[in-house]
Every structure is written in C-alpha cells, then in structure tokens.
C-alpha cells in the first residue's frame, strides 16, 4: 500500500470555554489520495470544520488545543509544522477556502493584492509579477475583466465572485490539496453550481486532491469520491460515495438522507427531521453519541462506544448494529425503529 497524500489519524481537539471543556473532535481518522475528492458531511457543530482547521493550525490556541493524533502529508507530520522541505504547508502545499467569502477577505486590501500575496511570500515573485499572475488567476476562475477587477476591493464584488477570488487565491501556489470548508453554503443555488463546476474543472486541470466539507448531501453526491459522515466529533460512517449513499450502514446516515429534500415525486412528502438534538460535547455520553436519537438503539449502545466495524470493502460504520455478533447485521437499515423489523 502506498502512502496516501494526506493521512489523519486519531485526531482529538478540545476547547476551553466558560462552561467547561468542549471535546469537539474525539478521534478522527481519514486519508485521501492525490487527485481524489473526500467529502466530510455532518450537521453544524459535529466537528467537521474543526478537524480541518486543526490540521491547518487555524484554531486559536488557547482556548483550543490538539490533545492527540497526527496528520501526515506524504508521510510527513504537518501538525505544528509550518514548512516541509522548504515548501510552506499552508498556502503552498495546501490551499483552503472558507464558507463566508464576504468576511473571509480583507476589506481594506484590493482583491489582486490579496491573491498576489502568497506568490510574493512563498514563490518570491516581484510585486509586478505577482499582480500579473493574480490577474491571470482571476481569469482562470472565470472572472470577467480580470485586470480591472483585480484593482477592486471585496465590497465591490458579489458573493459568488468573492468565492471565485478566494479559489484563485487558494490555488495560486498550485497546492496538491485544496480544502473547501462549506464553499457554497453562503451562496445562491445557481452560483453554488457554478462554483462546484469550477472546483471540479480546476481539479481536473491541476490534479489536486479536494477535501470538501459540507452539510449538503446534494453537493456530496455531485462531487465526492469518498465520504466521511461525522457526528458529535467522530466519523460514524466512511466509504465510497456509492457505499455511503446506497448501502448506508449507520442510522445517522439514514436519518440524514431522509431529512434531505428530494426530487423523487414519491418521497416529496417524506421530509423527516431527526428527532432530538446532538449531545452536549461538554460531557459526551458514555456509549454511542447517537444512541439517544437512534431508532435502533440497543442496550449496548448506552453502555459502550461503538468501534468502526467493516461493512464492506473500504466501507466502515461506527455502529453496534454492524458488530460481527449483532443479530441485525445482514439486514439493510431502514428509517424506522425496531417495530419495522
């Protein structure tokens, strides 16, 4: 087995707050190969953004801290490290774009200058070279009149345009991995599609890997090769997009799918929310974090946290139902509880 491009293992992140210590990420493992797309899915507060931000060294410390785990880029540790063999990790090896492009760009610096900055810092470009390259990058992300636009400020751009500019900035140093943290959440639906197309095209052109963080299963289906479903600071299901969508093996994934609007006329009226709310991460439950909301929950679920059990080839689920000794194992999961069996 070759070394993956990025391998994250057993990552734990905590935050100290007024109310106590929040265990935001509680042991996350995943890996991604070059040129592939991994989607990390989950509802707000499940720890998906914290995971990648901790990896990139972007969480403020204190109050945050990484208590355990590691992240390796081509086998080399990047946690707490700023450069690998003279090449900067952040901005050069790994590019990143964020959810809200409006607030993620410096309001008092021109777009062109902001795109040019990594080139000047990491590549030693001159001011003029970097500016010219910034215009080319803007052109590449399909912003019309790029040279005029480069001189403008963020408040003169629309949300979609800003996200394009963010992408231009993130790919300016030709990173091997691009992390997109909810890149389309703040945008109109039509713009969302354009941004996703752009990302896909850029990925094809440059061969970079993409980690896509989202809560939108539609985006996942459209973009991802692999999917990691996160709940309460842990990955609860991991597998190829087909496995996770068509052979969902964790009740939470099933619940997520049911809560998603669909075009299927038969399912139009079946938009079902997941009852209850995620557990308090100040003091996570002893057993499975989803047990309290899970229609299938069993005695063991309340007593012990589930491990990741293999469901199929490269398909894992953190659910007691998938335990080798579980009587429910071969049966496919349905929305309902025990009554349906």
């Amino acid at each position: 087995m070759t070394t993956p491009l990025l391998q994250v293992s057993d990552l734990h992140v905590e935050f100290d707050t007024y109310g106590g210590t929040v265990k935001a990420v509680r042991g996350v493992d995943f890996s991604i190969e070059a040129g592939r797309t991994l989607a990390i899915v989950g509802e707000s507060g499940c720890g998906k953004s914290v995971t990648v931000q901790a990896m990139m060294g972007l969480i403020p410390m204190p109050p945050g801290r990484i208590t355990r785990g590691e992240a390796r880029l081509r086998g080399e540790n990047i946690l707490g490290v700023s450069s690998l063999g003279g090449r900067e990790v952040r901005g050069a090896e790994i590019g990143m774009i964020f959810q809200d492009p409006m607030s993620s760009l410096n309001p008092t610096m021109s777009i062109g200058d902001q795109i040019a900055e990594p080139l000047i810092v990491h590549r030693g470009y001159s001011q003029a070279q970097a500016r010219a390259r910034a215009v080319a990058l803007l052109d590449m992300v399909r912003i019309p009149e790029a040279s005029r636009r480069a001189r403008q400020y963020p408040f003169e751009f629309s949300g979609g345009m800003l996200q394009r500019a963010m992408i231009a900035m993130a790919i300016s140093c030709k990173p091997t991995l691009l992390i997109a943290d909810e890149p389309t959440t703040a945008l109109d639906v039509t713009i969302q599609a354009q941004i996703l197309d752009l990302l896909r095209d850029l990925q094809n052109e440059t061969g970079m890997a993409l980690i896509l963080i989202t809560h939108d299963l539609g985006v996942v289906a459209r973009m991802a090769d692999e999917v990691a479903v996160m709940y309460a600071g842990r990955i609860v299901e991991y597998g190829s997009v087909e496995d996770v969508f068509y052979r969902s093996s964790h009740p939470y994934t099933v619940g997520l799918k049911a809560a998603m609007p669909s075009n299927d006329p038969e399912r139009q009226h079946e938009l079902r929310p997941i009852e209850g709310s995620p557990p308090d991460l100040f003091s996570p439950p002893v057993g499975c974090a989803y047990a309290a909301r899970c229609p299938h929950s069993m005695q063991i679920c309340r007593q012990q946290p589930a491990g990741l059990f293999g469901v199929g080839e490269a398909h894992l689920a953190r659910c007691w139902l998938q335990h080798p000794a579980s009587p429910h194992r071969p049966a496919g999961l349905t929305l309902g509880g025990h009554g349906h069996e």
Partner: protein
Amino acid sequence: MWQYTLKRIFQGIITIWFIATATFVAMHSVPGDPLSSERATTPAIRANLEERYGLNKPILEQYVLYIGSFLKGDFGISFTQRNRQVNDIIREHFPVSATLGILAVTFAALGGVLFGALTALYRNRLPDTIIMFLVILGISVPSFVFAALGQLLLVNINNLLGFSLLPVAGWGTVGHMLIPALVLGMSTMAYVTRLMRSSMLEIIHSDYIRTAKAKGLPAARIFTRHELRNAILPVVTVLGPAIATITTGGFVVELVFAIPGLGRFFVQAVQQLDYTVIMGTTVFYGAFLVTMVILVDLLYGWIDPRVRVQ
C-alpha cells in the same frame, strides 16, 4: 470622494452656523444685560456703550449683524479689555492652545495605537496586564490630578537633579510643552489603547485573518498588512471627538501649568462676564472643532476604501 468631501464641508458650515446661533441665543437669554454691572455708571455712559456694542438694536438685527460680522471673521471688541479686538486675543493665544492640543493628540494617537496593539498581541500576559492596569488608571483619574501630579513630579525631579530638567510652568520652548501635552493626552491615550485593543482582538479572530493564516503568511506580515490597518480604522473615527475633548480639556492643563492659551482666557472671560470674548471664543472653538472632525472624516475616507470608492 469629491461628492463626499463637498457634502461634509456643507454639513460643517451648517453645524458652525448652528453653534453660532446657539451661542447667540444662550448669551442673549442671560438674565439682566451685559452692562448691568458697575461698568455703566451713568445713563450717558450706558447709552454710549449700548451704541458701541449695538445692544440698543432689535434682537433680530443684532443677530443679523452678529452673523454678518462672523462671516467677515470679525468677533468684535472685548468688553473688559477696552480697545482690544477679540480677533487679537484669539490670534495671540489660540496658537498656544492648538500647539498643545496637536501635540497631545499626537501623543494619544501614537501611544494608544502602539500600546493597544501590544496588549492585543500579548493578551492575558504580563505586558497586557500592566498596560491595561495603567489604562484603567488613565481613564479613571481626572486630568487635573494628572496635571497636578505631573507638576509635582517635575518639581521633585528638578530638586533631585539640582537643575531644571524641564520647566515647571510657563510657555515658550519645547521643554515647556512636553509634560503638559503628555498630561493632556493621557486619558485619550488610555481610551485609544482600549479601543485599539478591542478592535485588534476582534480582527485577530476575524475570518480574513484566518484566511491570511491559511495562506501561510508570516505573522509579521499578517500583523502589518492585515491586522494593523483594519484595527486602526475605528481609532481614526474617534480622533475627531478626541480632538474636541483634548482642546477643551486643555483649560485645566493651561490653568495648572500657567500656559497662556485661549482656554485660560476663556475661563477668565467667563469669570469677568466678557460677553464678546465668550461668544467669539465659543464660536471660534466650535468652528475649529468642526473643521477638525471633517478633516478626520476625510482622512478616514482616504484610509478606508469602502468610503473612498463610493
């Protein structure tokens, strides 16, 4: 930007007119009249004085004359110091107050930005704790106490050294200006430090600083290019009002350090009920402050592209 500038200037002119009118109304609602004191001894002298100061005319005409002479830049003649033009008094003493004020504002702005940025960078560590303790003192201690303490300290230092390091009172050289300006700028500096600190802290946690970090920029570059420039913006907006506070706060410092500024004259004029000097100085100060606020606004527009471009 031009339109914005013109609009601000127009607003400023209206504001100055409002100040002049408010002053006029205030002074003409003084019970009794300006000549009721011992100065007008006989009806003849009284009539003469009324004629000279235009007090025998109807109030509306007086108002028109008053505004008219202000437009010509003429503030009239002093009531108590006969034959002395208010303009002369202003011309003589205002530069002193203005020098003191500008020096104090400079101290306050530079010191405040520097200390504020420091406290934000060293948040919850020793430099932050020390500076914020001093800031709380600076905000809580009245300026006259600073002035008195400053003078007391200076006296003691001079005694200790056996020669005069800096003059204790008076005006004329740079040495005369340093301590009064520092004392005068103290509370504003504390205020600016606090503002700068909270503004820096807000920006340090903002999304675009996270972006800058994700871009892998060195900390120094993030600080100068991204944090400082944005954090200074709110500081610039309070500089206008700060100039007003500092210039009028200068009265106390001028009293304590025996500085021949306009503030001391104003207090004197009020104590002697010298009406023309009171009105002239108030309107002049008002106009000065309005001008400074407009200049600061324009400066803000120049720094902040969101204002500049629109």
